[in-house]
């Protein structure tokens, strides 16, 4: 199993670096589809990186800006440091576990795809192996989002709304944008889970799960980055 993933990535790299076109485009074998999906997800994640790069720079710039107090006519700081709710650590743990179950789901799907051959095969041959991991990942993902919602509620209860201070604006912004992106990953998981209902082959499911796994792992790393930004650049 591991050898297949490695072979595919080595082949991807070789093909891209050599600058040679692909031999046959019409018969989309498993390796081709996998390579294309991975390339696509990497490019897509580049765009996501740019979004969060701009927010990070806006965060740092906005943090350093004073504002005019109209009563005294002096420049004051309006950035109120946020005490991050401890519950965020629970959420982080949930997301870290989900990235493990995601990886397990991905490996199971690969095993199923290899067992049914590299060619696309009829839908009924889809193995239900890996489905529990997939379902668990989706549930953990949804729990993470629910946990973030609780954190928002807690912040609001302590008087920090979206517009209270730039620090709270950025908190809601960064967690919200990350949540929206993670929700996209959950949709992709559901699509992979519905593969047999949608009459897709085991190979199709493996390709979708592989791309989603890359995306999911990235979302975990991104979350850890956001948490560090919020904690250490208060």
């Amino acid at each position: 199993m591991a050898s297949i993933t490695t072979t595919a990535s080595v082949e991807t790299a070789k093909a891209l670096l050599a600058g040679n076109g692909r031999p046959d485009q019409t018969a989309l074998d498993f390796a081709t589809r996998l390579r294309r999906a991975r390339l696509g997800i990497i490019v897509a994640l580049t765009a996501v990186v740019m979004i969060f790069v701009s927010y990070s720079s806006a965060y740092v710039v906005r943090q350093g800006l004073p504002t005019l107090d109209p009563r005294t006519g002096t420049l004051v700081r309006d950035w109120l440091p946020l005490q991050l709710p401890n519950f965020l650590l629970v959420n982080t743990l949930v997301l870290l576990i989900s990235t493990l179950t995601m990886e397990l789901a991905r490996r199971q799907a690969f095993r199923a795809a290899v067992a049914t051959g590299k060619e696309s095969s009829p839908a009924q041959s889809i193995d239900t192996d890996g489905m529990p991991w997939l379902a668990l990942t989706a549930i953990l993902g949804l729990s993470f989002l629910a946990g973030q919602w609780l954190v928002w509620r807690e912040l609001a209860a302590s008087g920090f709304y979206v517009s209270t201070s730039p620090s709270s604006s950025f908190f809601y912004l960064l967690t919200g944008m990350h949540g929206i992106h993670l929700f996209g990953g959950i949709i992709a998981l559901l699509a992979a889970g519905a593969a047999s209902i949608l009459r897709k082959s085991a190979a199709s499911r493996a390709v979708v799960l592989d791309a989603t796994a890359w995306y999911w792992h990235f979302m975990t790393v991104l979350w850890v980055y956001i948490l560090c930004l919020l904690e250490f650049a208060r």
């Binding site: 093909a15 891209l16 600058g19 040679n20 076109g21 692909r22 031999p23 046959d24 485009q25 019409t26 989309l28 589809r33 390579r35 294309r36 999906a37 390339l39 696509g40 997800i41 490019v43 897509a44 580049t46 765009a47 996501v48 990186v49 740019m50 979004i51 969060f52 790069v53 701009s54 927010y55 720079s57 806006a58 710039v61 906005r62 800006l65 004073p66 504002t67 005019l68 109209p70 309006d78 950035w79 979206v162 517009s163 730039p166 604006s169 912004l173 944008m177 949709i187 992709a188 699509a191 992979a192 897709k200 199709s204 390709v207 979708v208 791309a211 989603t212 995306y215």
Partner: protein
């Protein structure tokens, strides 16, 4: 995109769609999507042109009551220029060359049966179309369309009470831009993956036509730039609707505090121009690639310095991300920072000059065929030079201080970004129309169109440089109440008459386009005797582009007048490989 990819293969491996809706509306075929983008841009360009006509009329006859519209008020003038700029930049200059011709011809030119992710491709078009409808809807809501300019500077753009049109109209404007960014990102993802992964056997990167290189680099720029604009747009929406203060400082409107404080309008400018400057190259790079293609084909000569052209485009794209500050010299920027941005900006003159000299080298002593696409390619080079040469002027902070926000800037960017790109689009239309619609466009009408447009646009935009040097600021809706502008009114009048004629000329193009679809001469498979892959397939190309097989490529894209060859061009698929010469 994981789901898009998922569905894509299942559909594309199958036969061509038969139902009308799947074939022409929600089509997965990159060729149909390309034509959809083209017609979206065509609609947008006529809307944008009509708005500019109203502006020109208002400048000369400020009190004139127009049929249906009545008198144009100063704030309406600002609305017109905002919507003109936004529609032209996003829905014409970004949409037509990349979404339109790129979608149609990138897969064919690299020998692929379709884009990498066809469902995503369809989605990106419909999101872009939705963005256009939302943008147009801004005209019809309470307060009308926004008046904050296409750059949308806060606090004007962030405060609903800042003026008419800044309420719901401005919200729709921001939402439309955000949707457009989403569409552009999906499209860029498709272009990059397709170029890297779907080239036919033998189509090495350095055998790609320069058009493909241009689309590829443009897609990379789009991928990096539109995400930044999207995030800035989201911040602006929050400032407008959630009471945050990312961009809005402590301001009062009519003596009332707005409730915002501490935000930075400059933050928006940085984010906007980090997108905004690469956007200029997103608009012009496809036209550069196309111009290279056309000059080579119609001079019957290989492109001069193929590799230099590729590296020049790459370095223009790279440098394009480091010069956004030159739009902000007047924002209180430190002179040292301004100096760095200035040097970077002028450095772009080097790859630009390489490209220009290579174009001249390509046509030098060629057997030139003055067809309509060739005329537009030559027009592009002319506009690229005359519009580009004022760039190094504006790149210098010392000169930018008096020229900033004057008509000099308007003249500069209209010539190079606006009209030069449009000439690329026209050239592409005349060149590829036979392949897309199976008939030739009328050469006679095309020539009239070319000369009217070339002379007309120079007549409109050249005088703007003089206006700017005379201190005429842009965005002024009336000239009558400012004494120092009186002497410039005759020039403005001349420009308005030139605009009438130029706009009339565009209807020749429109008529030619639709007339030729029905009554044009039947086109052969390779009417221009060009070498690239789109001319090896049927006209119009079948659903899978090459009719059940994938071509194999043996040659570079510009093998013209090869010594010893039987004809004066060698197709890329010709197995008699051409030795380097």
């Amino acid at each position: 995109m994981a789901t898009g990819e998922f569905a894509a293969h299942a559909v594309h491996a199958h036969a061509a769609p038969t139902s009308w809706i799947r074939k022409y509306v929600f089509s997965l075929d990159h060729k149909v999507i390309g034509i959809q983008y083209f017609f979206l841009a065509l609609t947008a360009v006529f809307v944008g042109m009509f708005l500019s006509l109203l502006m020109r009329i208002h400048l000369i006859w400020p009190a004139a009551a127009l049929p249906l519209l009545g008198e144009i008020k100063p704030e309406t003038y600002l609305t017109l220029l905002t919507m003109h700029g936004t529609i032209m930049v996003f829905f014409v200059l970004t949409t037509a060359p990349q979404g339109g011709f790129g979608n149609y011809f990138l897969p064919i030119q690299i020998g692929a049966p379709d884009m990498a992710f066809p469902v995503l491709n369809m989605l990106s078009f419909w999101v872009t179309a939705l963005a256009f409808f939302v943008m147009i809807a801004a005209f019809f809501v309470v307060g009308g369309a926004p008046l904050h300019g296409w750059t949308g500077y806060p606090p004007l753009s962030a405060l609903p009470s800042a003026g008419p049109g800044e309420g719901l109209g401005a919200d729709l404007w921001v939402i439309s831009i955000a949707l457009f960014c989403l569409g552009a990102l999906m499209s860029a993802l498709n272009f990059i993956t397709t170029t890297l992964d779907m080239r036919a056997r033998g189509m090495t990167l350095m055998r790609m036509p320069l058009t493909c290189w241009a689309w590829f680099i443009t897609a990379i720029l789009g991928l990096l730039a539109f995400g930044v604009l999207l995030s800035a747009g989201i911040l602006l929406l929050l400032d407008r609707n959630a009471g945050t203060s990312f961009f809005v400082p402590l301001v009062t409107i009519n003596g009332q505090l707005t409730g915002h404080k501490g935000g930075s309008p400059l933050l928006w400018q940085h984010l906007f121009w980090f997108f905004g400057h690469p956007e200029v190259y997103i608009a012009i790079l496809p036209a550069m690639g196309l111009c290279s293609q056309l000059l080579s084909v119609f001079s019957r000569k290989p492109i001069f310095g193929y590799k230099a052209m590729v590296y020049a485009m790459l370095s223009i794209g790279f440098l394009g991300f480091m010069v956004w500050g030159h739009h902000m010299f007047m924002s209180g920027m430190s002179p040292y920072t301004a100096f760095a941005f200035s040097v970077m900006t002028m450095a772009i003159g080097v790859p630009s000059a390489i490209k220009t000299f290579n174009w001249l080298g390509t046509i030098w002593r060629g057997h030139i065929r003055f067809t309509s696409p060739m005329l537009f390619a030559l027009g592009f080079v002319s506009l690229f030079i005359s519009g580009g040469i004022s760039g190094p002027f504006l790149a210098q902070p010392v000169l930018d201080i008096p020229l900033h926000d004057t008509y000099f800037v308007v003249g500069h960017f209209h010539l190079i970004m606006g009209v030069a790109s449009i000439f690329g689009i026209f050239g592409a239309t005349y060149y590829w129309f036979p392949k897309m619609f199976g008939r030739m466009m009328s050469e006679g009408m095309a020539r009239w169109h070319f000369f009217i447009t070339l002379i007309g646009t120079y007549a409109i935009f050249m005088p703007m440089h003089y206006l700017g040097m005379a201190g005429h600021l842009r965005r002024y809706s009336q000239l009558t109440e400012l004494n120092y502008l009186h002497g410039l009114v005759p020039l403005q009048t001349f420009m308005t008459y030139a605009a009438f004629i130029t706009i009339a000329g565009q209807f020749i193009f429109l008529f030619n386009l639709f007339w030729s679809m029905k009554f044009g001469k039947k086109a052969a498979d390779n009417p221009w005797e060009a070498t690239t892959l789109e001319w090896t397939t049927a006209t119009p190309p079948p659903h899978d582009n090459f009719g059940g097989h994938i071509p194999v490529v043996y040659n570079g894209p510009y093998e013209y007048s090869v010594p010893g060859a039987p004809r004066d061009f060698v197709m890329q698929t010709d197995p008699a490989t051409v030795k380097a010469h």
